[in-house]
Symmetry: C2
Subunit: 217 residues, 2 copies
Amino acid sequence: MEGDSVKLLGFWGSPAVLRVKWALAVKGIECQYVEEDLSNKSDMLLKYNPVHKKVPVLVHQGKPLAESLLILEYIDETWKQNPLLPHSPYERAQARFWSKFVDDKCMPTVVAAFSKVGEEQQKAAEEARENLKRLEVGLEGKQFFGGDNIGFADIAIGWLPYWIEIAEEVVAINLIDAGSMPKLNSWFHAFIDIPIIKELLPPRHKLLHHTKAFLQA
Amino acid sequence: MEGDSVKLLGFWGSPAVLRVKWALAVKGIECQYVEEDLSNKSDMLLKYNPVHKKVPVLVHQGKPLAESLLILEYIDETWKQNPLLPHSPYERAQARFWSKFVDDKCMPTVVAAFSKVGEEQQKAAEEARENLKRLEVGLEGKQFFGGDNIGFADIAIGWLPYWIEIAEEVVAINLIDAGSMPKLNSWFHAFIDIPIIKELLPPRHKLLHHTKAFLQA
């Protein structure tokens, strides 16, 4: 039997995997980490996530869980210490809303801004900036999306400005403008300055190399 | 002040709005329903959902909530009677997984199967059937996704076979095959046979007309 074991199938450069690593770190849960070769996925990954065949997969007590935001919900419900979601249903909905917004709406425009060219790129960049600016609403009157402490949405969104800064080095386009997004900018720096957050970030030079390959594919 | 008032901004033909109506009905919560003209959205809708400008929006105690699956979570957390999500974190993750799967993966292929033509249509139909078959896993050993009673995933997914049956009348293509999807098929009929579910379904002839316009747009 697998007892209370926690295993994470991941890939070092995946933002979705980083969310799960951060969440486990905030909860103080140790896990056995298994790095996947995404060009040659393991039988274990295909068995545990037959629908999406993607990382992350969290395996707890032998049961697999997929989809990073749903894994964060699971982690928060399973280990109660250092709650990720706030107590109030309305605030919980807000945290989920901004996290989903980044995946569904923000991220596609950001990727398009970095991978399209010419007029299409300009249009995508404009949309991406508007979407990023929207996130400022989630930070209104707060240091973190979670309030005084980091929570669900911080963990869900925190990789985005880090990755954008790196992609901006690959493609000469500017998306995060500290002047028009002051809250987002100071939130981001406060977030990645937290030791357990910072120490799990993929090394900048390695991610730069990976991002170059990804955007130029 | 708005007290404990519950208002729902909706559109009669929207599957996402239907989810919210069903969830409120299961909880026994009355709401003031406001029908939106989607070709001329109200100031209230634009004010309450500035990010997506979409229905449904649930307004509770003056505070707006968007995104149907997140509204279901809110409803379940706010009104505890007749829980939509099960108790166990693992089963909660499963319910959320199948609901998200329908929105992210199943629905785009189903719409493509009904709106593309020729070879593209055949390919999309094949994918749509595979995705629909996947849902059978969520019904393994159970009458409903929620077990003996309907729950979160039933409410999230229940409109899909209803709409597919109607779209199959508009476009001569068959996606739900009772032979290869027996669990999905019997679940669907058991689900829409529940009185509070059935009575909120949009009238078939009206939805047929609307679907024709949607698919031929």
